[in-house]
């Protein structure tokens, strides 16, 4: 596997000395670390964008004697491969982020939940952990700090996309089926084995050492007002330079398309199968939590691609990956797939399409977790914005409302 070696970025891909973030954390103390992370406005990089500092503070204030920190490296969103680069090229930076998090919230154990697809990275990651133990960045009395003991265990996933959802991930760690739990209670109160657990995206944690070392003001100077810092994006599809890039928040889609040398673009899907599909007239939109939020996936489609095929592929993905626990997701997705086929045959009239959109809305509202809630997103955006991709039938469909 060949990786592009020269990487360029303002935060994660910028230079840093191993251990310097941790050293400074221990010097300034827990409260200062918590304050710095909160003031930096760092938000979760998985896509949902929950403020990391708030999460840490909630866990830190708990009086429970056992707390956990979990790095979520279960990226499964189609078109996302940023964690692959972080895990193979910057693993120590990610682990250092976990150690600082553990210090701040008072955790003694941490897990890296590594997706099964990346199990070939496991031997190298274990070597990195062993090296950190030798440097006394893991283990007992970290850097001579008598009351700080912490170690990290790597746990493998086994090919379940839904385990990227934090409560499903915790279920999986506990040895159960990866079925999401009801939230609340949130994992920061009741997580792994009932104890406060902070689950952070691998990329989120990779920001930490930089933030501590360089300060929250430096971090806020990058990006936009509501989205501080940078985003690691993974671009694929119809472009000449697919790959992983670090860009500041606020970067337009147009600029990204130029970066990857994409020509003749019809549409871009931002955020993978659970994201949205945008057309040419929206390429001035910006990456960020206030506009286009993504876990990293950006897929480019040129003029020759049928967007109905794309939507069908995504829905087939959700059909396969739905845990089957709640009805809107389990039953809704197959109906939408059926709907795509009816649309493609030109047999769908406007009232049936309305039914499909109303079903989509139900799924967004009533599904238990993010998977079902976002499963109809790309379907809705394609139906709304790309009316040239399909033709509605003028003949009214008779009979059953759903199931063609």
């Amino acid at each position: 596997m060949k990786e592009r070696l020269e990487r360029d970025g303002k935060v994660i891909f910028s230079d840093i000395e191993l251990g310097s973030g941790l050293k400074k954390s221990l010097k300034i103390g827990r409260l200062e670390v918590l304050d710095t992370v909160r003031d930096s406005n760092l938000k979760g990089r998985g896509g949902a964008g929950f403020p990391t500092g708030v999460k840490w503070n909630l866990a830190a204030t708990s009086s429970d004697s056992k707390k956990y920190i979990v790095a979520n490296a279960d990226e499964g969103e189609p078109g996302t491969f940023k964690d692959r680069v972080l895990l193979t090229e910057y693993p120590a930076l990610l682990f250092e982020g976990m150690i600082i998090a553990a210090y701040a919230i008072g955790a003694e154990r941490g897990f890296l939940y590594l997706r099964g697809e990346y199990r070939s990275f496991l031997p190298n990651l274990e070597i990195v952990l062993e090296d950190l133990r030798k440097r006394n960045m893991l283990g007992d009395n970290i850097f001579g700090n008598g009351d700080f003991n912490f170690d990290i265990e790597i746990r493998l996933g086994f090919g379940a996309y839904v385990c990227g959802e934090e409560t499903a991930l915790i279920e999986s760690l506990e040895g159960n089926r990866g079925e999401p739990r009801n939230r609340p209670p949130f994992p920061v109160y009741t997580g792994y084995n009932g104890h406060p657990t902070v689950v952070n995206n691998a990329e989120t944690l990779s920001n930490i050492a930089h933030i501590i070392l360089k300060g929250s003001d430096w971090f806020k100077s990058i990006g936009t007002e509501k989205s501080a810092g940078s985003k690691i994006i993974s671009v694929s599809g119809d472009c000449k330079k697919p790959g992983v890039y670090e860009v500041p928040f606020g970067t337009t889609i147009k600029k990204i398309l130029k970066l990857v040398d994409a020509l003749d673009v019809k549409a871009v899907v931002v955020g993978g199968a659970s994201g949205i599909c945008i057309g040419k007239n929206e390429f001035n939109r910006k990456l960020g939590f206030e506009d286009l939020s993504t876990g990293g996936s950006i897929i480019v489609f040129n003029e020759k691609r049928s967007l109905l095929d794309v939507v069908e592929n995504f829905l087939e993905f959700f059909k396969e990956e739905s845990c089957g626990q709640c009805t809107p997701c389990r039953e809704g997705v197959p109906v939408l797939i059926d709907g795509i086929n009816i649309l493609r045959r030109g047999e769908c009239d406007s009232s049936y399409l309305k039914n499909l959109l109303s079903l989509s809305e139900t799924m967004q509202l009533a599904s238990k977790c993010g998977l079902g809630q976002s499963a109809p997103n790309v379907f809705i955006s394609v139906i709304d914005k790309f009316k040239k991709e399909y033709q509605l039938s003028s003949k009214k469909r008779e009979g059953r409302v759903f199931n063609g």
Partner: protein
């Protein structure tokens, strides 16, 4: 929170006490992973034994094994080829790659060769979209797969 500890054979106050020992429920997936690495699949008997060890019902073990797509409850080929069916891979010709594998192995998607050497499957995005079409052979990721590479891979696995 009280919980039964299968090691101490008694109810313990905090489930945490059990957390570090090898017989706690949270070790279920690592245990299953070890069995699968050794044998290629997890048999009914294995599930019973694991259940006994952890003090849970075998049905619970079965429910976990069948939930995860990388865990097998039935014997499969010695090697597994998983072709990514993610849209990025499809755009770069992964459907053709599936056909090439089917031709080389003389089986259909989802089947195992007669000599029980290779199973051919599809899988969701493997995180190699920049090097599409991508496949996973056992634990290894392989990108930019071509018809020529397919032949080489099959030759290697059949050896």
């Amino acid at each position: 929170m009280e919980k039964y500890c299968a090691v101490k054979k008694q109810t313990v106050k905090d489930s945490q006490d059990c957390d570090l020992c090898d017989e706690s429920r949270s070790k279920l997936l690592p245990i299953l992973s070890q069995i699968q690495d050794k044998k290629g699949y997890i048999s009914d008997k294995d599930m019973q034994e694991v259940a006994d060890k952890l003090g849970i019902h075998p049905v619970e073990v079965y429910s976990v094994v069948t939930f995860y797509s990388f865990l097998n409850s039935k014997k499969e080929g010695k090697h597994t080829i998983r072709v990514s069916n993610c849209i990025s891979s499809i755009m770069k010709g992964s459907r053709k790659i599936v056909k090439d594998f089917e031709k080389e192995l003389q089986i259909k998607l989802g089947q195992t060769t007669k000599d029980k050497r290779v199973t051919l499957k599809e899988t969701s995005c493997v995180g190699m979209c920049d090097m599409a079409p991508a496949i996973m052979v056992d634990g290894e990721l392989i990108g930019r797969v071509t018809a020529k590479k397919v032949k080489e891979i099959v030759k290697e696995l059949k050896r």
